[in-house]
């Protein structure tokens, strides 16, 4: 009897040495050429890549980019991420639908234009946001897109007139680490040539170990431990950069990938060298087209400069990198799911163990790091682990990029040292909310994170104390909610995110998030649908519905397969706690 979970398509790909790494790209090409992916295309791609057609079908139906069906010649992606939601309550989506004459998730009958709602585009500093083709537009008019009269937007040319402002960033760390390249205090590829020719992987490992660097993607696993685990397994091994910055509210990874991609590649190369991997993959989400292009260019540049390839800089070490563009899935950022995505498989999670460090890409030992983690590694190797460890807090050394959302007076990416109070971020750096807005709550750490009230902001930016307050730090984005936002709408937003992004691998999340969304829609009732809906609700009904939410949260929290389902429960509990009075007063 087999007692360890197996991934049947991964096993097949590994045995016949046919990873489907190019499948997402091939599906995208078909979609671009023909607007949709038909069953003949699935069969043809399966034959072309030597994959079972069912695996190709599964992939094409899993990722939001493909699953929504027909695409227009002009494809508009509108952000329904949390910052955009906090800024407009979803009004920008309705306005866009009107201007384009096309409802979200559909395509105009003549095939001219289609609209897809995505979570999120990473312009949370200037919400709301849209991608018209690959061109971004932000702000109240979505870069001018909403200035047009209704129904006039079906042309094929992109109509965004005003490009978004650049991402504001600032480092409060002394010295800057992750933003050092952007601030011009560190160059690119400064340590790699010497390290790779020096032939001492254990030195890289030692410095990273001494630095106390932990994963910045949310899980906070010690980087050096991950390397040791993978290195202890027989090769071949792989390293993977997670550029699937799925948390709405977080856009620091986009900043790094678009403006300092070589730092990420150098970090990946150092991780590969330390663990004896010869192939690296970078997963970049499709919602970040500029980041995809920039990462691809960076790989070509790095190869041309001799930093990647065979016998790098005359050493005996080979290492090369491929960039994989995602296709619209939050769970794909979960480590077991991500291994599927970079193999062209559906991005569902699986039980752990085994962990990717023993069974990852193609079932081989794989080291997976968030791009922010990787961007710190060149600095750590150059300046030594001890120097890094002096930054931050004794419990959690180093620096963290924190993203502040549009409702703040001064939104942007801030590199801060661990341990600073949240109030410092919200008030000193963010400058509080913009004029006319009053802070009601702050969502910390993305859709699976938590909500804090203004009086809780003295908590430090540290995993432990925040967890004690019921708030996972996650990727450390802060989204401000003002007093105008109805509590029931926030509750519905959280459940909707869970239901839309659940991969379907386990019952609690697959069915439970749908039941939660249905419940939240009933609690929202008149508030969400406007006064013209069902009229005044029955007093006490909302409280009763909230009671019925409890067993859902219990099963999600206790019985979910991966952190996503537990995270949804946690986030909903946070909303329910912070907004308990308002929710109970809702009139369903």
């Amino acid at each position: 009897m087999v007692t360890e979970p197996r991934e049947v398509f991964v096993g097949l790909q590994a045995r016949v040495a046919r990873p489907g790494t190019s499948l997402l790209e091939r599906l995208r090409e078909v979609q671009r050429e023909r607007g949709e992916i038909g069953s003949a295309d699935l069969t043809r791609l399966a034959e072309e890549l030597g994959l079972p057609v069912a695996a190709v079908t599964a992939t094409a139906s899993f990722y939001a980019d493909f699953a929504e069906g027909r695409r227009g010649r002009r494809h508009v992606r509108v952000c329904e991420g949390t910052s955009c939601f906090a800024s407009t309550g979803g009004r920008h989506i309705r306005d866009l639908e009107q201007v384009l004459g096309v409802a979200r998730g559909t395509c105009a009958a003549d095939g001219s234009v289609s609209v897809q709602a995505v979570r999120c585009l990473g312009y949370c500093y200037d919400s709301p946001a849209v991608l018209d083709g690959d061109q971004a537009g932000t702000g109240p008019t979505l870069g001018g897109l909403l200035d047009k009269p209704p129904g006039s937007g079906t042309g094929s040319a992109a109509s965004v007139r005003v490009p978004p402002p650049p991402i504001p960033y600032r480092s409060l760390a002394d010295p800057p680490v992750v933003l050092a390249g952007l601030l011009g205090t560190e160059g690119e590829w400064q340590v790699w040539p010497a390290v790779v020719t020096g032939g001492a992987p254990e030195r890289v490992h030692r410095e990273v170990e001494a630095s106390g660097l932990r994963g910045r993607g949310g899980a906070g696993f010690p980087t050096a431990n991950k390397w040791a685990m993978a290195a202890a397994e027989p090769g071949p091994r792989y390293v993977v950069a997670n550029g699937d910055e799925g948390d709405p509210g977080s856009y620091c990874d986009r900043l790094l990938m678009e403006q300092d991609p070589h730092r990420i590649l150098e970090g990946l190369a150092l991780a590969a060298f330390a663990t004896g991997a010869h192939r690296g993959l970078v997963l970049v989400r499709s919602e970040y087209p500029a980041a995809v292009a920039r990462m691809c260019t960076a790989v070509t540049e790095a190869r041309a400069a001799g930093h990647l390839g065979r016998r790098i800089h005359g050493s005996g070490f080979d290492f090369d990198v491929a960039v994989v563009e995602g296709a619209g899935s939050y769970v794909a950022g979960e480590e077991t799911a991500l291994m599927h995505t970079v193999s062209g498989l559906r991005g569902d999670a699986r039980p752990r163990p085994p962990y990717p460090t023993s069974s990852g890409f193609l079932g081989r030992p794989t080291v997976l790091h968030n791009v922010e983690t990787l961007a710190a590694i060149p600095w750590v190797v150059r300046h030594g682990g001890a120097a890094y460890a002096r930054l931050g807090h004794p419990d959690e050394p180093g620096t963290k990029l924190v993203c502040l959302s549009q409702l703040f007076r001064r939104p942007g990416v801030y590199e801060v040292e661990y341990g600073v109070p949240l109030r410092y971020l919200v008030e000193d750096l963010g400058g509080g909310l913009r004029d006319g807005h009053t802070l009601r709550s702050v969502q910390v750490g993305g859709p699976l994170g938590g909500f804090l009230t203004p009086d809780q902001l003295d908590l430090p930016l540290l995993t432990g104390p925040l967890a004690e307050a019921g708030v996972p730090l996650g990727h450390a984005s802060l989204i401000a909610f003002d007093t105008a936002m109805p509590a029931a709408a926030i509750l519905r937003h959280e459940w909707a995110f869970g239901a839309a992004e659940s991969c379907g691998a386990c019952t609690p999340c697959r069915v439970g998030t749908r039941r939660g969304l249905e419940l939240a829609e009933r609690i929202g009732g008149t508030q969400l649908n406007g006064a013209s809906a069902s009229g005044p609700g029955r007093p006490g009904r909302a409280a009763e519905l909230l009671t019925r939410q409890e067993p859902l949260l219990e099963v999600l929290d206790t019985a979910s397969l991966c952190a996503f389902g537990r995270g949804v429960a946690c986030a909903v509990r946070n909303v329910t706690r912070v907004y308990s009075d308002e929710l109970a007063r809702s009139s369903p």
Partner: protein, 894 residues
């Protein structure tokens, strides 16, 4: 063993057991809706949560049991969450899901376990519809709970990868292929998904009917020679469903589209239910007759021929589909009542070269190792066999092993399904096996992969072989076989470099003019590497085409051998049988099947008694067979249907199928397994066993052994290799491998561990030169026709064509390579006239690159495409096995 406690109950389980299985072993009845012992756990339904050592809830299916664990299925937190998960599942199901009989729905049983009759959760369900396009696999998408069992059965057990979960979140659902019609997906209809589905989302026609099953009978499959253990579920005296026996030693809970689903033929309206006789001469029609009348005609006719020309003027063709007991009785009937050794069985047409070749090489006429040994093999050489279609459960097991890391070498002219996962494909030209195996043997020598100690101590003929192999450098073999020398070298390196290599072969090796040489030169590879007759090696496995090919020969339905391969020419043996039977066994070996035909046309044979075999459809060179039938004074046959042979017969006796029989079959690995009747015969049909008794009695003889059990007992007393086998023991202890030399002996699954059964105790290497096949293409007949089997059909098709398998493969086609088709101006589906040196037959073409250019492929499963009119009378020089695999033909657009 591991000891742990579950809800305070101590339980002991083997290593590598999940906590869920342990909890069930402890009698907790813990549900696990995504769990099936045949596949890996998934941990997705979350209904099997338990606490271990007081910890938080964990999925018991994904947790290996460990010594001393304290497991609680009644932990409030775990059981509470599990119950909630189940209630969530119930909340998405339509009401009909909970109305399915509990014995067919694990979901219903899980609800019973938790005492759930509804759900506290309410909300939308699904409206995804049904797909009933496939004749056997019926999908009701709204019952799907996305547990993935079907996907893992299809991938891990069947190795087909036809299924996946598609969509995401709440909309996750199983799809086959592109998600359109199930019938047009790559599904091979093995039924694994249906067998595992916990909710009825995947179901089969017979079990969709909620009416209860009347009885369930365990038996052995009557299709190919794998010998799958099946459970036959009977309702209203018809087969409602057939399911594989979980935990059965051979098939391990798996089956194929034939054994599992293709049973409708048993109640086909054209089943013969009365005897038929043709009293007014050959031209007259067959008419229904009473048994009395028919037996009179048969007895009178046989007696007349015997008394006038002698027993040797009668030929008996026994059947590899009949039971051992029936074959035993048939040869006893021929030898004691008719007085002739003219008895043969259809293994002559498939595996007689195996019997001859393996006996010459190893001293015994069976495969050397059990099927289970594939579990240990690190390299599998599949030669001249297409197991995923012809022996699907073996094919599936090979795929499992390969996916688990075993290397796979395929030697076959066609790009068979297994090639997709193979490490090397030696695509040798048909008829060049001996050259290929000699080439590989030479490479084993050159690569230092010969086990010198083994060869010194346990092998004969090495020097002679080494000398012969001088003529087989790889570049020469590559030219002969039309393959790349590097490919041959890679095959040799993989096989030679393996520590536990296995050989699996089929009719692509035997059905040649030099078929016995093919078997022997293939066996050489196992001998040279010391991988046969040793505890490590996995030996040589022969895939048998029909359910009892092995047993028919084991039972002595052979012209030169008595039961247990005891030579009829051995006076001592003969004396022993004569004494037991009370009649002198004829001294001279009898005629083989194809020789019987020649004897008939030349006036030496006057009566043919054919049990089950449709010689006019399945034997080569049909014209010759028809001439022989026409020349006989009397032709008698037993059959289920009016076969092509029956159309030429004077008397046709209605026989019964394996589902209506009592006895035993021997599978391809020499495992003797019980066959139990699930159905009563239709009308007046009788078993071959009964018919033989009736005919003998009518001829004034008593064959003794009135029951099948008696026949097996009598055989055991006369045959040392079967001495320990009896129905009673099989019923009590389960299947037994032969040799089984005494009631206290366990049966020998792995042969030749101490010494080979040859005269000198050594494995005999064969130095055989490559000789060209009997038929060769030339300018007039430029193509080579290869015949074989397709997944949905079986041999003559007499059974499978009378089932919904016809929906899966409705008509015979000729597989043609697209390049050849383009040259001939043929499009897919066009008719093509195929001409051999003997006949002309028209086929629709199917364009596929599974055949190499210059080669075409078809089967003889459809009588309207009489393929064997084309095949030649060339036959194995040693055994007379026909050269079905090489026929020179010309193609002309029809």
């Amino acid at each position: 063993m591991i000891r742990l406690t579950v809800d305070d109950r101590p339980v002991e389980v083997p290593e590598a057991t999940s906590v869920l299985a342990a909890a069930r072993a402890a009698g907790t009845g813990l549900p696990g809706l995504c769990f099936d012992e045949r596949i890996s756990p998934q941990g997705s339904c979350r209904v099997c949560l338990v606490s271990v050592d007081g910890g938080p809830p964990v999925t018991s299916c994904t947790l290996p049991a460990r010594e001393g664990m304290v497991v609680r299925t009644d932990d409030p937190k775990a059981a509470g969450a599990a119950r909630l998960a189940l209630e969530l599942l119930v909340s998405e199901q339509p009401p009909r899901a909970l109305q399915i009989p509990a014995d067919r729905s694990e979901l219903v049983r899980a609800c019973q376990h938790f005492g759930i009759t509804g759900s506290q959760f309410h909300g939308s369900g699904h409206a995804r519809g049904v797909d009933h396009s496939h004749p056997y696999v019926k999908l009701d998408r709204d019952l799907c709970i996305a547990c993935g069992r079907c996907v893992r059965m299809c991938a891990e057990v069947q190795g087909t990868f036809a299924l996946s979960l598609a969509g995401r979140g709440f909309d996750t659902v199983v799809v086959a292929g592109t998600g359109e019609r199930w019938l047009s997906s790559p599904c091979v209809g093995c039924g694994g998904c249906v067998d595992s589905c916990p909710t009825g989302a995947l179901a089969e026609p017979g079990l969709l009917d909620p009416a209860p099953i009347d009885r369930t009978v365990a038996t052995t499959c009557g299709y190919c020679g794998v010998g799958c253990a099946l459970r036959v579920h009977v309702r209203a005296e018809r087969v409602a469903a057939i399911t594989p026996v979980h935990g059965a030693p051979v098939n391990r809970g798996h089956a194929c589209v034939k054994g599992r689903f293709a049973h409708a033929f048993t109640r086909s309206r054209d089943r013969l239910t009365t005897p038929l006789v043709r009293t007014a001469g050959r031209g007259s029609p067959l008419r229904a007759a009473t048994w009395e009348e028919a037996l009179d005609v048969v007895a009178a006719g046989l007696t007349a021929v015997r008394d006038r020309y002698g027993g040797d003027a009668i030929g008996v063709v026994s059947s590899a589909r009949a039971t051992n007991e029936e074959n035993y009785l048939a040869q006893k009937f021929a030898r004691t009542v008719l007085g002739t050794n003219n008895i043969d069985n259809c293994s002559r047409l498939c595996h007689s070269p195996s019997a001859a070749g393996l006996t010459a090489s190893f001293g015994m006429a069976g495969g050397t190792n059990p099927f289970d040994d594939l579990d240990r093999a690190d390299c599998i050489l599949v030669a001249g066999a297409n197991p995923t279609e012809a022996h699907p459960v073996v094919g599936a097991r090979i795929k499992q092993r390969v996916l688990d890391g075993a290397r796979l070498v395929v030697v076959d002219p066609r790009r068979i399904d297994l090639v997709d996962v193979a490490d090397v494909h030696v695509r040798a030209r048909p008829g060049t096996n001996v050259a290929v195996f000699n080439g590989i043997a030479r490479a084993l020598l050159d690569n230092g992969h010969v086990d010198r100690t083994f060869v010194r101590d346990r092998v004969s003929g090495f020097a002679e072989l080494a000398e012969l192999l001088r003529d087989y450098p790889l570049d020469r073999v590559a030219r002969l076989a039309g393959v790349d020398a590097a490919v041959l070298q890679q095959a040799a390196l993989l096989y030679g470099g393996a520590s536990r290599p296995a050989i699996v072969y089929g009719l692509g090796i035997t059905e040649h003019t030099h078929g016995t040489d093919g078997v022997r030169t293939l066996a050489n590879l196992a001998i040279l590497t010391g991988s046969v007759g040793t505890p490590d090696g996995c030996g040589v496995l022969t895939l048998r085409g029909q359910n009892n090919v092995q047993g028919a020969s084991d039972m002595g339905a052979l012209p030169d051998l008595l039961p247990g391969y005891q030579p009829v020419t051995d006076g001592g043996v003969r004396a022993r049988f004569s004494r037991a039977w009370g009649v002198d066994v004829p001294e001279r070996p009898g005629l083989r099947i194809l020789d019987m035909f020649d004897a008939a046309t030349t006036g030496r044979l006057h009566a043919l008694y054919v049990i089950g075999e449709d010689i006019a459809q399945t034997d080569p060179d049909t014209r010759r067979v028809q001439a022989a039938l026409a020349a006989c004074d009397l032709v008698v046959c037993h059959d289920l249907f009016l076969s092509r042979t029956a159309e030429h017969a004077d008397v046709v006796l209605p026989a019964v199928s394996f589902l209506e029989k009592d006895g035993t079959f021997v599978n391809f690995e020499r495992r003797v397994q019980r066959v139990h009747p699930a159905l009563a015969p239709p009308g007046q049909a009788r078993t071959d066993f009964d018919i033989l008794h009736l005919v003998a009695r009518r001829m004034g003889a008593d064959l003794g052994c009135p029951t099948p059990a008696d026949a097996m007992a009598e055989c055991a007393t006369l045959t040392p290799t079967f001495a320990g086998i009896s129905h009673e023991r099989l019923d009590r202890d389960g299947p037994l491998h032969w040799p089984c030399r005494g009631p206290d002996q366990p049966g020998e699954a792995r042969l030749h561990l101490d010494r080979f059964a040859t005269r000198d105790g050594r494995a005999a290497l064969a130095a055989r030169h490559y000789l060209p096949p009997g038929e060769q293409p030339d300018r007039s007949f430029p193509f080579v026709l290869v015949t074989g089997r397709r997944l949905a059909h079986y041999n003559s098709g007499s059974m499978s064509r009378r089932t919904p398998n016809l929906d899966l493969f409705p008509r015979e086609v000729l597989d043609v390579h697209p390049d050849d088709a383009a040259r001939l101006g043929l499009a897919d589906g066009d008719l093509v006239e195929v001409t051999s040196r003997r006949a002309r037959v028209t086929f629709p073409v199917s364009l596929t690159d599974t055949v190499a250019p210059g080669q075409v492929f078809t089967t003889f499963a459809f009588p309207d495409r009489p393929t064997n009119a084309l095949t030649s009378d060339c036959a194995d020089t040693t055994t007379g096995c026909p050269e079905y695999k090489v026929t020179a033909v010309a193609l002309r657009p029809g």
